[in-house]
Symmetry: C2
Subunit: 291 residues, 2 copies
Amino acid sequence: MSTARGSARRPGTEAAPLTERSARVVVARKLTRRAGREKAGAFLAEGAQAVREALVAHRAGTAGLREAFTTAAFAERQPELVADLLDGDVRVHEVTERAAASLSETVTPQGVVTVCDRLDVPVSAALAVRPPLVAVLVGITDPGNAGTVLRVADAAGAGAVVFAGDSVDPFNGKAVRASTGSLFHLPIARERDVDSVLAACRDAGLSPLGADGHAAHDLAASEARALLGRPTAWVFGSEAHGLPDELVARLDSTVRVPIYGQAESLNLATAAAVCLYASAREQREPGGVRG
Amino acid sequence: MSTARGSARRPGTEAAPLTERSARVVVARKLTRRAGREKAGAFLAEGAQAVREALVAHRAGTAGLREAFTTAAFAERQPELVADLLDGDVRVHEVTERAAASLSETVTPQGVVTVCDRLDVPVSAALAVRPPLVAVLVGITDPGNAGTVLRVADAAGAGAVVFAGDSVDPFNGKAVRASTGSLFHLPIARERDVDSVLAACRDAGLSPLGADGHAAHDLAASEARALLGRPTAWVFGSEAHGLPDELVARLDSTVRVPIYGQAESLNLATAAAVCLYASAREQREPGGVRG
């Protein structure tokens, strides 16, 4: 029923697959809910790409992969990935299509899902190597946005992402999927106390800079460009409410993304993309921290 | 049952509300499907913000608002919007909660939806004022992405958005919602024939520039910056496949968004945000077309 390295059995060849009522599947299914993830200290990574990234991180020692579930159809389609999991000392269980669907948060499950140790670390640990660019998300609620911002932060070369305040769980299935593997690429911290996040950023040499539609200077202004070349912790507020005034007062400065047309604002992920890439660029100019 | 300007009746006060089986509601519900939208030349804009933007455009003569449906609860919550619709000579029909839900593509309908004339114009008309920045989307399939790119293009000051090739319908309910009103702000064109779109762009003085992960120069390279200051039609490919090689060969040049971390790519909307804002910036620098 289950297979480990060195075993002669491969998923889909012999024992009956686990059903949605099998104890292992029932236990894993609890990870589709936040309370279950918190209790088990684990989350689900679904789909071939996420599983591949999880395995790379597992081998590099930056992620813990507890076990994997695959359907016979998936194992037949992608035998190399199953072999790689087994070679990585990951137990692989064959499951029925229905069991796979019960572990999935997508409409068309791919038939592969892994149970991974939660990846978040304390803020101080996430900032230990003093990265020059970090994203801090305060009170964001949409899991798709959380994952997309993780992906953007990774692409822009940020060294960590901090989920501060009352934010969505970055290990929510939708967030994991939207991150397209990026959650395995850079340190993630969760810290409810926003003040302690700001203090940790300053301790790591980062200047907290808020993205705020009401800021005096826009990203392209010379005043803003001078700020952007420094080590920066970008602070982004919630999709609906942006940054609260009392938080803005505790930041070093704020900058707005210029709106040249009639749109009222950008959404969180696109605003984060513009801001983080503006920093990535200025930090690489002469005079910037990476220049 | 229905109310027009000058009538003493206001929705929610007298006649029985329309149900999901009422002819008007049945006809409007066809607009939740692409075939229905094509046939009727109309689409649904849902929620208070979208309806407000539709009404502004209707009054400015850039959109046609055929009729509106509201629940009694919505009319009670936002009587000013209902009054504004009536003042704008828009017929407003009270509908039951169930009828409103049948016209909605959201989980929690707000209770207001309008029937609008389709807004798309021929490519040549969309480019008639020779805007210096335009977005061309080729073969994109996700409606949420379509709407988010519309919003980003609007924010970055683009003068038009062209849906080229076999692209999703920008008047799909999810696209309308993701655009948060931006589809009423700038000309939208749909044209299956990509070559004719490129020809129209060149006729309007725009240089077609592709966003392509395999391009030789990245956005921050000096070669790219020189390109970005010129009148530009940014060409973006599909979420899954990017720009096909044969299309790249027909563009003036391509540029890639630099990936500084381990992410494989950006998603469409965030890539478009970075590219369009890079153009917006260079075009406003000395030597740029708006400099």
